[in-house]
């Protein structure tokens, strides 16, 4: 492949960081000229391309930013044109193509953290960093630890990423200096209050959280772990798929697609190889349930992916996890290593003769990569831009091959379905929404955290579980489903939380985020933050979303300043939202106007006195 070298050379440290991942560079052929015949490696180059993101991570991790020289060296090793690699690097918030200090605090200022003192925290951190050339801070979208807001992610060159929760300035500054101890390892109960003693009844997805040692395979097995894989291998793929269909399990990533059909489609696809992909790029603001599952019951996800592999005939799985989740990543890496060592992953899974391996891929700060086809592109070493569908992933997904892609929570349901059978699973919940659901209660509630309830519980009941609204009374509004979801008001709190009831009410459960806004919260500010989020996270591939998210944010700012006729701005917002919904390629653009529109429809922006 033709690669034009960049003029700047890479430093020795940059080369070393890349070589540590890719191995030493091949020896140069000495003669200089082209000679008479040469062998190329276009096939290998395609395989190498998927190492682009890991290689960029390696440089970012070691050096703290990706210089032109380092980028050039990565391109030379992987034979990727520098312009393309730059386009990839540039598309991720946690990779920097501009020189910056080696220690960076990413301070969350998203919808939950901004009402938990994010602004004051940023001010104090900024003052504390005055005169420090070696450190800086940046605002960040949701870091997915909303139950312990405000949150900070520390990226330190040459060190591990770490997250600081319930952050104050001294802790952030200490973390940037390298003290403050190792990354925290919170109790499950701090994130999922139902797992505190006395444990709540009926926990299925959270059944082991807080009870098992997440580092111990033995402990996991002692709590029933890997029993489901044994049963799945014994009963065979068709049985597993039948039970999954009987369970009526719907995907928990937001689209609520029947999981059994997806598994069946991949298992019956003609092409090989096939892949299993776990979407752990949980980036919807206000959502953190997958993180809790991965941190406190990592083996369950590994086991479920393995069941998926042996059932669909895939031999390799990718677990794509956002870089903002260093603790979950570390625990999953350890779990994979232990499972491999115990013969539960590898060439002969549990003595079945079947092969299945799992590779973790870290995201790099891009909401769009949670969209399944953008996620494939990200793994393949391209910009995280969604693909047109069809073809659907089950036909042509990762590397153009049949791919089973499920969300973490979806996978987490699988072992129980295999052990109890589909019918027993479907006995919980409602006709249209079988099983239990994890909801992320955050914002103005007394005990924020992940709560597991059977489908059909009401918003009211959920908020009560979380100790009610802070300061008592009714919430001003609830944002259901994160930035891509919609606002509901106190009058709608009796809504049963099921896919079908939500659909009938014109809202969506989405990712399961339930962000509660008390009386004192400025909702116009929250909608502007949501608009800014989409403007920032739009991948820019399609016009309606690229332009629309900018226009939406601008109109909201004009609305706040009452600089224009409020009615005109509302009309513009409506037009823009309709264009984005109708014409965007993927869910990001299609949902980017929903929260704002629901806020307008419910009159939530009128408190500013600028709306009609």
């Amino acid at each position: 492949m033709e690669v034009h070298r960049l003029p700047t050379p890479a430093s020795a440290a940059e080369r070393a960081a890349v070589d540590a991942l890719l191995g030493p560079p091949p020896a140069e052929d000495g003669d200089g000229g082209p000679g008479r015949s040469e062998r190329g490696r276009p096939q290998q180059a395609r395989e190498e391309r998927q190492l682009l993101l890991p290689a960029l991570h390696a440089v970012q991790d070691a050096i703290g930013w990706i210089s032109a020289g380092a980028l050039g060296y990565v391109c030379e090793r992987l034979r990727v044109p520098p312009a393309e690699a730059y386009g990839v690097a540039e598309s991720y918030a946690l990779l920097s193509t501009r020189e910056r200090p080696p220690r960076v605090a990413h301070l969350c200022d998203d919808i939950v953290c901004r009402n938990a003192g994010a602004d004051a925290l940023a001010g104090e951190v900024a003052r504390g960093l005055e005169g420090d050339e070696g450190a800086t801070w940046e605002p960040s979208p949701c870091l997915g630890v909303c139950e312990r807001a405000p949150a900070a992610l520390l990226q330190v060159a040459g060190g591990e990423d770490r997250v600081i929760t319930a952050a104050d300035a001294p802790a952030v500054l200490a973390g940037l200096r390298g003290d403050g101890g190792a990354g925290e390892a919170p109790e499950a109960a701090a994130s999922a209050p139902q797992t505190a003693e006395p444990r709540a009844d009926g926990l299925r997805l959270l059944a082991r959280a807080g009870l098992v040692d997440p580092a111990s395979l033995e402990d996991y097995r002692a709590h029933g772990g890997y029993e489901a894989l044994r049963v799945a291998l014994e009963r065979g793929p068709q049985w597993v798929i039948d039970e999954l269909i009987a369970s009526r399990l719907l995907g928990r990533g937001g689209a609520a697609f029947p999981a059994g059909r997806k598994w069946a489609d991949v298992a019956s696809a003609d092409a090989r190889p096939r892949y299993v992909v776990c979407n752990a790029d949980e980036s919807e603001p206000g959502t953190f349930k997958d993180r809790v599952l991965m941190e406190h019951d990592p083996f369950a996800l590994i086991e479920a992916m393995t069941i998926a592999g042996v059932t669909t005939g895939a031999e390799h799985g990718y677990l794509y996890i956002r870089r903002e989740y260093p603790l979950a990543t570390a625990r999953l890496e350890a779990a994979i290593a232990r499972a491999e060592a115990a013969g539960l992953l590898g060439d002969d899974v549990l003595g079945s003769g079947l092969r299945f391996t799992i590779e973790i891929r870290r995201g790099a700060g891009a909401y769009i990569c949670g969209e399944e086809t953008a996620l494939f592109n990200s793994i393949e070493g391209y910009r995280g831009e969604p693909r047109n569908k069809p073809p659907y992933p089950t036909q042509a997904g990762l590397f153009g091959k049949p791919t089973l892609v499920n969300n973490v929570e979806t996978f987490a349901n699988v072992p129980a379905i295999v052990l109890e059978g589909g019918a027993a699973f479907a006995a919980t919940g409602t006709e249209g929404s079988a099983g239990t659901k994890l909801f992320c209660l955050a914002g103005s509630v007394v005990r924020p955290g992940v709560y597991e309830v059977p489908f059909g519980a009401t918003l009211h009941e959920l908020i009560a579980l979380a100790g009610g609204v802070e300061g008592g009374g009714e919430p001003q509004a609830v944002l259901l489903g994160g930035a891509a979801g919609s606002f509901v008001t106190a009058s709608q709190l009796d809504l049963p939380l099921t896919f079908e009831d939500a659909r009938a009410a014109g809202v969506s459960l989405g990712s399961g985020a339930v962000t509660v806004f008390g009386e004192s919260v400025d909702l116009a500010d929250a909608t502007r933050r949501i608009a800014a989020f989409f403007r920032d996270e739009s991948c820019g591939q399609c016009v309606p979303c690229r332009i629309g998210t900018v226009r939406q944010e601008e109109a909201l700012h004009r609305l706040a300043g009452a600089n224009g006729n409020a009615g005109d701005e509302i009309a513009i917002l409506g037009d823009v939202a309709r264009a984005m919904t109708d014409a965007s390629i993927c869910g990001l653009g299609q949902t980017a106007g929903i929260a704002v529109q629901s806020a307008i429809d419910l009159g939530l922006l009128e408190r500013e006195g600028s709306a009609p």
Binding site: P34, R36, S37, P42
Partner: protein, 538 residues
């Protein structure tokens, strides 16, 4: 000429499905970038790509294997590949026996072309030639594609025959996924040939010297068609030299800059009685003309059709009125006929097309309505029920064989005419770059971030040996002429090989250097092989 029809045998789609793609004498990455997208799709789908080119081109950097022969050594290489396929037992015996003729003569003719001898002639290691032979011989499907690296030689036709022999030997012809594809340089080169813009053919590749064919056209046109082959361009210049050709009507061609040995061409154009040039810009040739007929640009200002390298006829629609006095080529030709006393009626593109459909069996079923509906149709397309033909020569696989057997042609390696000597030690070859086209008539007015002025590209080793720095202006001399140009060190060239384009004839008149030695069968000059000397200036 082997198969009776002049066109690529496969569809682009097949290039995306095939197991092996061989690009021989083609820098498709730069010169056929749209076709190359299909090649890349094929590579992405798992095809092996083998590139044969003296230069280590950007195309070759996408290849699994690149072979860099001496310029003009292709026949030796191809014959050795054929011999190796036979000796390795990879020939498709069944196909050879049922569908071809003269195999035995071919077998004997390639016998002297051992891998070692081919290495001695071409410079390519025997092992690489062997690998090409085995890849082509054992592939389930294979596409063999070529361009001007094969045809711009004094023995161009023999070059093409040497490649066709390989397809006959292996049965890589007439089946889906396998084929022979000369890539066309413009969107409608194929269409020009199809419409009879060649001196030996009437529209639809019907032989001018075939009485029955001629009679059909005479009946339709109500005139007598001259019963002899015409002259091709090179022969026209020879006729000018002899004083036999005294008037020339040039449509969309710029011979005053594009001909090999261009000083001679200009002298001859100057010497004729009447030169009429019809073109979209005032080309160098137009500037010499007695009459200039400004023409509309065919891709935006006219109605009609074009035919691409996969024989697909597609509609072209008029988007703009031509500027100033420029007129549609069709209008001009019709008006000219009128002045000459013939009434052809309205100059309507669809009318002309429908006349063609009545005369060319290849195009019979291609009404404008169907072309529109089907997004273009690949010839042959006999009638309005015929969906067209994705690939040609399927008859060769039918049982029993339909039509005549296809003959092998034994061809021998003959080195380029312009010999390398101590006085002229460096081989100059010419070609194109991605951002420009031929003499620049269609491309020079558009800016490109890739464009750089003309240079003499040489290997850094030659530069060092000659004491010539990168960027230094030098004098370049051939047996026909000389010019000055800046040197560019080119990594893709080996010592002894130099490269220039024809893109900027007003600045660097590359064709002062090239040789007009031409192939008697195709009329193509040997642009690919001149002998030059590089001199320091001052």
């Amino acid at each position: 000429m082997v198969f009776g029809l002049g066109g690529g045998t496969s569809s682009y789609e097949e290039v995306e499905e095939t197991e092996l793609i061989v690009l021989w004498g083609s820098n498709a990455r730069e010169t056929h970038p749209i076709f190359f997208h299909h090649v890349l799709a094929g590579v992405r789908n798992g095809a092996r790509l083998i590139v044969v080119d003296p230069r280590r081109t950007t195309t070759s950097e996408w290849a699994d294997l690149w072979l860099g022969p001496d310029v003009g050594a292709d026949i030796a290489l191809a014959n050795a590949v054929g011999r190796e396929i036979i000796h390795a037992g990879l020939a498709h015996r069944e196909f050879v026996e049922r569908a071809t003729a003269h195999f035995e003569a071919y077998r004997q003719s390639v016998e002297p072309y051992t891998l070692e001898r081919a290495e001695a002639i071409s410079g390519v290691p025997a092992e690489a030639i062997r690998e090409l032979a085995h890849a082509y011989g054992s592939a389930g499907t294979a596409q063999l594609c070529w361009t001007l690296g094969i045809t711009e030689h004094h023995n161009a036709t023999d070059h093409v025959l040497a490649l066709i022999n390989l397809a006959l030997l292996t049965g890589h012809i007439g089946r889906r996924g396998s084929g022979l594809n000369p890539l066309r340089g413009q969107n409608n080169v194929q269409g020009g040939g199809d419409m009879g813009a060649v001196p030996t053919r009437l529209p639809g590749f019907q032989d001018v010297e075939d009485d029955a064919a001629r009679a059909r056209f005479e009946a339709a046109w109500g005139v007598t068609v001259p019963p002899r082959d015409g002259w091709h361009l090179t022969e026209m210049f020879e006729a000018m030299e002899r004083g036999e050709l005294r008037a020339l009507y040039v449509i969309g061609e710029n011979p005053a800059q594009s001909e090999a040995d261009v000083q001679r061409a200009r002298r001859l154009l100057d010497g004729i009685d009447q030169l009429v040039v019809q073109d979209i810009t005032l080309t160098k040739t137009a500037a010499m003309a007695d009459v200039v007929l400004p023409a509309a640009a065919a891709w935006a200002e006219t109605e009609g059709t074009v035919t691409n390298s996969e024989r697909r006829v597609q509609r072209v629609r008029k988007a703009l009125d031509p500027p100033g006095e420029a007129r549609d080529d069709l209008d001009i030709v019709f008006a000219l006929a009128e002045r000459l006393g013939a009434d052809w009626g309205a100059a309507d593109a669809e009318r002309v097309w429908d006349e063609l459909r009545g005369l060319s069996a290849l195009h019979g079923g291609m009404s404008y309505a169907r072309l529109e509906e089907l997004g273009g149709i690949q010839w042959p397309c006999a009638d309005e029920q015929d969906p067209g033909s994705p690939f040609l020569h399927g008859r060769l696989w039918r049982d029993p064989l339909e039509g005549p057997r296809v003959p092998f042609h034994s061809v021998e390696h003959v080195p380029p005419v312009d010999e390398l000597t101590e006085e002229y030690p460096i081989r100059l070859t010419t070609g194109r770059r991605l951002d420009s086209y031929n003499t620049g008539v269609q491309s020079a007015d558009y800016g490109s971030p890739l464009r750089r002025p003309e240079t003499l590209d040489i290997s850094p080793e030659d530069g060092a040996r000659l004491g010539v720095a990168d960027g230094e202006r030098v004098r370049v001399c051939s047996r026909r002429g000389e010019l000055e140009a800046p040197v560019r060190y080119a990594e893709e060239l080996r010592p002894g090989l130099a490269f220039m384009t024809l893109h900027f004839p007003d600045d660097v008149d590359t064709n002062r250097l090239t040789i007009e030695a031409w192939d008697p069968k195709s009329g193509t000059s040997e642009f690919k092989a001149s002998a030059i000397r590089i001199e320091k200036i001052g």
